[in-house]
Structures are given as C-alpha cells and as structure tokens.
C-alpha cells in the first residue's frame, strides 16, 4: 500500500493542491476561504469561552493566551476532522476514476490527507507569526511541530482508509462520521481547558487517540517537550488503526470496484 502511494505521489500532490486551490472555486474570495473558515471559528470560540464562560488555563495568563491555546487545538483538530470526513467519502466521490483507471484506492484518501496537512501547515505559520506579535517567546521546539501533526494525519489517513472502504458498501457511514467527529471533539479538551474536567475523567483521557498529538502541539508551541507517554501514544494509535485499516482493505479491496 505504501509503495503504491509512493508511485502515485505526483498525482496525490497535484490533486491535493488543486483541491486546495479550487475547493472554493467560484466564490469571490477563492482560496482565502481556507484560512477564513478557521479564523471565523476561532473568533466565535474566543468570544464564547473568554467572555461568556471564563476559561481556566493553568499557568498562562494574558489576553492572547487563550486564543493561542484555542488555535493550537482547533488547527490540528480541523485537519484531522477534514481528513476523516473527506477521506471517508473520497472513494465514492472518485468512483469515475476507480471505474476506468487502475489506480489504487488509497491514493484518493491520501490526497485528502495531504490537502488537510497543507491547510494546517499554512494556518500554523500564521499562528506562529501571530504568536510572535503578541509576545510568545520563539523556541527551537517549534521545529518539532510537524511531528505531532504528521502523527495526527497518519491517524486520520488510517481512519479515513477504513471508513472510506466501508462507506463504499454502506453509504450511511458518511452521515455517521459527522456525528462521531462532534462527539470526539467535545469529549476532549480541544476548545476548553482540561482543568475543568473531573480528575477521574482526566485519567481516562490519557487513552484518547487525538489528545497526545494535540497536547504535544501545545507543549511544543510553549517551548516544552512532550512526555514519553505522549510520544508513545502519538505513534501507537496510528499503528493500531493502520493495522485495522489494512486488514479491512485487504479483505474488501476486490469487491470495492464491483459495487462502486
């Protein structure tokens, strides 16, 4: 599977870029929407959590601390959610290609993952510039930021691969994914602080598949290194889902093109 992805790397990259540029084709602001959407979301969350519900952040104060906290959670989360939800539908959407050309299926899921990763990378660039402006100290740990992001996207790719294959047979899955993503997001401290949760629940959260990566992003931004547990979980989860996806794809790959 990895080899076929490597073989089609140009196709994946080109389609991802094309998709990125033309997702909002026809709208007057075009590709700018890729950034405007997350910005609008961040503005809303900031308003809700900083003025209506008071956020409790440990050790960090200042007007911009919460915005930085929020962004460093929402950007990776959005990338992951995009990767899963768009990846899930990608085989059905690209049925035309699959019927006519012998292109391996993972290519279409990978293309969504790459597009999501590029969007996240651009948003992070903007966020770090913003951070510098409001006095976030520059740190060498920023160089490690791509690592948790890549881990998150391999997880997104593995889940996307699993769901897109199943979605070919049961189209309802695509609808369920939206709901499942909402649940996943609100059960983890992404837009709120972990501190407001009961301690017992915080212990369970150690096993949350997304949290190690998102925590690591936040730590690295503040110039700290993540703990060993975070590093381990960050790579363990993509492995687990990767093996699962591989097993399902192997079992069903012959039938995908029969029903699509």
């Amino acid at each position: 599977m990895l080899f076929s992805l490597y073989q089609h790397r140009n196709f994946i990259w080109r389609n991802a870029m094309h998709d990125f540029r033309h997702r909002y084709a026809g709208s007057s602001m075009g590709a700018l929407w890729n950034v405007l959407h997350p910005l609008a979301m961040i503005a809303i969350y900031t308003l809700v959590f900083s003025s209506i519900m008071t956020p409790q952040l440990d050790g960090r104060t200042g007007r911009f601390a919460f915005i930085l906290y929020l962004c460093s959670g929402i950007i990776p989360w959005t990338a992951f959610a995009d990767c899963v939800s768009r990846g899930c539908g990608s085989l059905v959407v690209n049925a035309g290609y699959l019927r006519k050309l012998p292109i391996p299926e993972p290519v279409f899921v990978a293309q969504e993952a790459v597009a999501a990763f590029v969007t996240a990378a651009i948003s992070f660039g903007l966020l770090l510039v913003f951070g510098l402006c409001v006095g976030l100290p520059i740190s060498w740990t920023w160089l490690l930021l791509p690592v948790p992001l890549l881990a998150l996207l391999s997880l997104g790719f593995a889940i996307g691969m699993l769901l897109s294959t199943l979605n070919v047979f049961f189209r309802d899955i695509q609808q369920w994914v939206g709901i499942a993503l909402q649940i996943t997001m609100w059960t983890a401290p992404i837009v709120y602080a972990a501190k407001i949760l009961p301690p017992a629940y915080q212990a369970v959260l150690r096993w949350h598949p997304l949290l190690p990566s998102i925590n690591s992003v936040r730590l690295l931004m503040d110039g700290n290194l993540p703990a060993a547990w975070d590093w381990a979980m960050m790579f363990a989860w993509p492995m687990v889902f990767g093996v699962l996806a591989l097993a399902v794809v192997r079992a069903l790959s012959d039938e995908i093109r029969d029903v699509i």
Binding site: H8, N10, F11, R14, H18, H22, A25, G96, Y97, L98, R99, K100, L101, P102, I103, F169, F170, R171, S253, D254, E255, R257, D258
Partner: protein, 442 residues
Amino acid sequence: MSDTLITASGLSKRFKIYEKPTGRLAEWATFGSAVRHRDFWALRDFSFDVKRGQCIGIIGANGAGKSTLLRILSGTLAATSGTFAIEGRLLSLLELGTGFNPNLSGRVNVLHTAELLGYSPAYAAEKLSIIETFADLGEFFDLPLRMYSSGMQVRLGFAMFASLDPEILVVDEALAVGDASFQRKCFRHMEKMTEDQSRAVLLVAHDMVSIQKLCSHVIWLDHGKIRLQGEPKPVVEAYMKFMFTGQGPEHEESAKAQASGLPEPDGQSLAPSRDQNATRNTIPETGLLVRSNAALLYPGESVELVAMWIEDHTGRVTASAAVDQPFSICYALRFKQPVPNAVFGVRVSTIRGELLVATNTLMMSQPVGQYEAGQTEIVRWPMKPGLSVGEYFISCGVSTVEHPYQFLTREVDAYRFAVDGVSRSGALCTLADMPQLGGAST
C-alpha cells in the same frame, strides 16, 4: 519478443447481488454463514489468446459480459477466478472520458493521465504534438474539459491512447459518439496498429459493419459465456440471426446434423415446383423475427399479429435481406372477430427513425378483405433492393376502410431486420446498379 500478447484462461467474474444493503452486514456479522446474496456471473470460464497483429471483435447483447471482460483485462475489476497475463502495455478506452479531470485543459489532462498510467512525463510531452494533431480539437485542446462535448472527449481519449503506442488497445463502444470522419481516422489507426503484426486491438462494438471490416477474429459473448467465435462473417451472421429471430447457432448446427443424417430427399420436395400455394399460405415454422424491445404495442380485440418474417426473392425465409436482391416483409394475422373491409399497413424506418416506407393496402389500391372470426391472413410486402446495409424497424397495423387511421391492432417498431452485404452507400439507399463511366475523352 513473444508472439502472444494476452493469455487468459478460465476468467470468471461473480457479482454478489444483495436485496438490501443490510444483507451484507448480516453476512459479515455471521462470518458468512447467513447467505443474503445471490450470485450473478457476468463472465464464466472465459479463455482466449491474443496474438500480435490480431484485431479481436467482441459482440453480444447488453449485459453479455463484454465490458466486464475488458475491465478485468484493464485492471479495474478483479476476476473471481481464472488468470490472465499481458505482455507489454494495455490501454483501455472504457466508456466515455477515461477519468479525465473536468477542470483541467485537454493538454494538461493528457500529461496527467499519461503519468497516472505509468508513462514518464518526458514520453508524454514528446507525444503531445501527435496527440494534438490526431484529436484535431483546435483551440479546445487548451480549454477545460468541462467545455467539451462528449464527442470531443472521445476524440481526446482515443487520440491520446492511440498515440501513446500501447501493445494492446482496448476500445469499448466509445467511438460511437465521434463523428463519421473521426471514426474513419480511428479505424485507419487500428488497421495500422495490426498491419505490421506488432500490436493488437480489442474492439467492442454494436456496429456489425465495422466489426466485420476491422476484425480478424470475432467472439460472441452471451450471458458471460462464449457462444461462438471464429471468422468475423459467420459469427456476425449467426449473432444477427439470433438477435432477429431468436435462433442460436446451435439450432443451425443441429438442423444441419439432422439433415446430413437423413437420407437424401427425393428431390421433388426441395424443388420450387412444390405446390407454391401451400407454402404461401402457412406461417413458417422457423426464422420468425422476435419482437424488439423497442416495440410500442396497441393490441385490439378483433385481430392480432401472430408472426413476422422476411422472405428472400425466392420465397425462402431469411434472417436478413441481401442488399442487392428484392425481398418481402411478411406478417400473419389472426382474426378473433369478424372484420369487414380490413386495411393492412406497414412501415419501415431506420434505427434513427427516418421513415422509408409507410403505406397500406388502401393506398396501394388493393381489394379490401372480409374476414370471419378464426381466419388467418398472411400479407407480403415486396421490397426493392437498394436499402443501405444496416438495421431497420418494421411497424404494422390493421384498420378498416371507413377509418383508415383507427387501428384495430397496431405494433410500432415492433420488429427489426437487417440488410446485409457489401455497403456501397453511406446514405439511406444505394444506386440501382453499378455507376458507369463513359471513358475519358478529349
């Protein structure tokens, strides 16, 4: 360099058909012990070899397994069982479009698709000018594909696939969309591909004339199995006969076998001196046309059509009319109620609906007939030679002198027949004879 480009043996394809999508879930949950699907075999035990220089035609009704076979060979469908090996590269122009991106220009699409198919970008770039000339799209070559007509997409697809120079080119009915001159160009290219014995072409088409013209070998698929294969002419003829009369080649074989097993008839029974009226007033037992699925039927209570067939100029029942011989369209009617003053009508049209003949016994000044319940009448409509080679529809109807357009029974486009032979015209009819030249004079 091996002589054989494709070796396939025992290829079969089964599709699982589920009544409900939850059926699949039930099967998974029980690890396959609760069977909720039925099998549909689109292709069964298909074996063939394709050698360099061959153009193989694949014919058969819709759903016979032609596309399934081509999709297996081009790698977009996995065979349930059987194996195949391909020497060199196989490019397949399946249906329309071949997975082009509608937002990119023709030029960029060519480069992308070529890369996707595994060609190096340099090779594709090198072929680009040949493709541009072949496709002959003018300024459209640099416009996004969504602005293309379906014919233009096919032109781009064929030009590209042909120019990339694959060992095997697969063409699946796609050419039907292109205009006549482009089709001609494609056929010339396919001829050239096979001429020098280096490449092969697999062609699926419903146009029997081009199949016969291009192919060296024809395979007739029926319900996923090879029904007949061999030289183009006999296979196409057997297929056409089956399509129009419902009689398969097996029928003919067994009839022949029976005939050869019997002692020679006394000569008299086969001679035309045999009582003409006896044959002229009975419905033939074999060779009747089958009702087409395009038929529009307006049945009535007083009379019904019981049989339709074609007779050649000697009065023999035939599956298709010869292009250079007169023939007759014949039908038999049974009256269920008495009908005084009956008028019979016939109409012949092309597949595209152009009306060639539309007449009735009243217009032809024939005496009207009085019919009692239970009587049968056979009506013959003699036709002149000269219709172009191709397929035609027959409509028929019965009315009365009082109301010639109020039909007692009517069947529109109910039967199809073919005119066979060497095509000598591109239009609806041909000349009465060979053109004559007076010789050059100064």
